[in-house]
Symmetry: C2
């Protein structure tokens, strides 16, 4: 494809996306296809001869679009959002066009230095501890997902607890890690990957707000030490997936400091709220954390993937991951004056993800981003108010930010039927969880273009649908 | 950014990339900036108010471009390529525009089903074992990098060897893994991450072609078993990073079958060659492998990230990774009729990477892709011939595909000076390795637009530069 062909086809793709953005609210949010239906519409083998680009775009409309669940629809309230925006998409496009590998500083200095800069910007923007700045002993790196970030943090904690002997000799089956019973499944997954083992993951009991109980954590650590285990990692959630419960970071952090245990704080979705000074309370105590992560690709208008991971001591992370084969040696790395981000995560290769984040932060400015966050929180709070005011419904958990957990009074089956009816309508998409063992609907307001009007429409639909059950 | 604003800015970005493609050959390949120079040109803090999009694009030219090492220049011969193409970039752009999460089938059925389909296409296109087809017991998944793929494979091997007890109780310090002394550093990194430990990585000696010696492997396994270790994973390289050495897969595979050890084959760069029937010999014996990986993002015109990972028994992989919290439960998954790719890798979230691969396979067709591979191999072979014919130079290793390892006769210092002079010229970019302990230059032909004419120019420059030392 020549540059001129690229230009012509590129315009067509830009048109396709602009048109998609304009019509996305009109599609059924949750794809209504049956298993196997999309594949059945496509040929079994790749073509021997090339096909015209126009045919690919036509197939996208005809063959692929029916199988899309529209995460960018303003009617999307499921899971946590994975929102996006024009400047992010275009920054990401430029990253694809440049096609650089940022594994080492030398393999594209701008890829590394812009990333370090925007990570430092985020520290200021969210009011994070200054220890996370690259100009201090810490630093930030863009990871793909919070799952990878928590794994990286756990590995650093594992090595710190064992004097870097585990990297050398392997795990011994006696390391323990701690998180709440409501924490994300990625923590258990990381413990399996890291060779620590699921049986050594202590799921600490929660209080009435679904937040971790520090007293139980402390007792469990003491019990484990007495039994000969080596506690190496604690993860607190600032905004659990089920209900945006916020663990008591100051109390947990104090325990970790006293015990010398690596303390990670996962604010994957909720962290973005800290753009607004009035929501910074979610990060109280964060100065006690060894590492922290939030995902601009969830709620900060930056398309997937972009998970912002920070550490207060970058040497602990680098010492955990670093390996230097001959074919990666270079003068710049040898000077020690540069960051080689390959030593900050699992992967070696990495794309220029800082570009899209830089574009978002500059195009919207901090003011612009705050307006989105406030709009979403206001809409969620309004929704929570409507739920509370309606006798047929109840709130299932506190709604501190943009997620509302609620139920129709009347039991699990009824609520399950309500969810299925809503999602089958194609008009909105919600998902569920269990709180206090009860089936609970979740409505998370976070798609870029979702406004209080959309949420009001959703509430009307939920009431009507419930009424018809 | 409204759809109409997106359209206008999108055209500008497409223009920028088309222009970049047209002029990329004219830039210094290796960025000539000093550490800190790019960051010093940028503001220390994010802007409070938003900025016009035009200013972002202008800054890309002025502030970022000097810090770019041009991986998409036809004069790029360093490392392994990370090539790209118009249809890949535009497919990836559509993925950003759709902004879906493919963690579960239900979260976008087309994202999963298209991925399964194109992975099956690749099995046919490369002549891979039918066991890797999703229609049999195996299947393919797109991972981000070969580092993540080898980690996934190692974890599956670890669990298979211990009856899935390691996931539960953690590693015991007695698992061993095997690869050649010339294998990629990602294998050692994976062993550290997986809690197996670097001391339990057996780096098997190589023969005169830098390929693993199966007799040494077999003896080492026997020795380890006798010493109470549990061998759980062997990785063979089809095309090592240093010299594209090809391990004897049939012999290694036979040992692994006999010993019941998970056998992974890493063909990250070289695998693409198998598009051409005349290069399929690189995969002889692959039917003995439990898993296999090659990176379309290296040599198959598909921009980063896109690593194609295959297993012959998908249940072993899924059983290794699967965790099912309430908030991810859904009807489609419960039926068991669908693939949920989150259980095939480290991460939970995943983007729609199959789109770009689908676009590449269809736009070029198999014939078109083969022509690229053949052009690169022919150019590399011509280069190897020129090196051999020149008394001042010598080949340092066999050059079976598109990588040529060579030296100026005269010692390490001279070759290091030659490399530095070439890279400082900005006209080409090469990297080095060590073979038989000797400093060796590597020239890998793989950028999409590199032709034999470029390689001839490179050879002239190398001779002239060497002559001037």
């Amino acid at each position: 494809m020549t540059p001129e062909e690229f230009r012509a086809h590129g315009y067509a793709v830009i048109d396709w996306i602009a048109d998609y953005q304009a019509r996305v609210a009109s599609f059924p949010v949750l794809s209504q296809v049956k298993p196997g239906e999309i594949r059945a519409g496509l040929p079994d083998a790749a073509p021997e001869a090339g096909e015209p680009f126009e045919r690919l775009l036509a197939d996208l409309d005809e063959k692929i679009l029916p199988g899309i669940t529209h995460w960018q629809s303003p009617h999307f309230y499921a899971y946590f959002p994975a929102n996006a925006s024009g400047p992010a998409i275009l920054g990401d496009l430029l990253s694809s066009g440049l096609g650089v590998q940022g594994m080492l500083w030398a393999t594209s200095p701008a890829c590394t230095e812009l990333e370090t800069l925007v990570m430092d910007w985020l520290v200021e923007l969210l009011g994070l501890p200054a220890a996370f700045l690259s100009t201090n002993a810490g630093g930030g790196v863009i990871q793909d997902t919070a799952s990878s970030a928590v794994l990286s943090a756990m590995l650093a904690g594992r090595e710190q607890a064992t004097g870097f002997a585990t990297n050398e000799r392997g795990c011994d089956g006696k390391l323990t890690v701690y998180t709440s019973r409501h924490a994300h499944s990625s923590i258990e997954k990381a413990a399996k990957i890291a060779g620590i083992g699921r049986a050594q993951v202590r799921l600490i009991e929660v209080d009435g707000t679904f937040a971790m109980r520090p007293d139980v954590l402390e007792a469990q650590i003491a019990e484990d030490r007495a039994a000969g285990f080596t506690p190496c990692f604690v993860a607190a959630s600032v905004g659990t997936t089920s209900s945006t419960a916020i663990d008591p970071v100051p109390a947990i952090g104090a325990i970790c400091r006293r015990e010398g245990i690596w303390f990670h704080v996962d604010a994957a979705m909720a962290g973005t709220a800290a753009l607004c000074p009035e929501f910074r309370w979610i990060h109280v105590g964060l100065e006690l954390a060894d590492s922290y992560c939030f995902n601009p690709h969830k709620w900060m208008l930056t398309n997937f993937d972009c998970s912002a991971f920070f550490v207060r001591d970058r040497s602990a992370l680098i010492d955990t991951f670093s390996i230097l084969p001959e074919y990666l040696r270079n003068q710049a790395s040898a000077t020690g004056q540069v960051i080689d981000y390959r030593d900050w995560h699992i992967q070696l290769g990495r794309r220029f993800r800082a570009l899209k984040l830089w574009f978002v932060l500059r195009y919207y400015g901090t003011e612009g981003l705050r307006a989105y966050v406030r709009g979403h929180v206001d809409a969620a709070r309004a929704f929570a108010g409507w739920v509370e005011a309606d006798d047929a419904f109840e709130l299932a958990a506190p709604a501190p930010l943009n997620l509302v957990c609620f139920r129709l009074k009347g039991g699990d089956t009824l609520n399950q039927r309500l969810l299925e009816a809503l999602n089958a309508s194609g008009k909105i998409y919600l998902t569920h969880t269990r709180l206090d063992r009860k089936y609970t609907l979740r409505l998370c307001v976070g798609q870029t273009h979702t406004t209080i009007d959309h949420v009001e429409t959703a509430w009307r639909l939920i009431r009507e649908t419930a009424g018809g059950l």
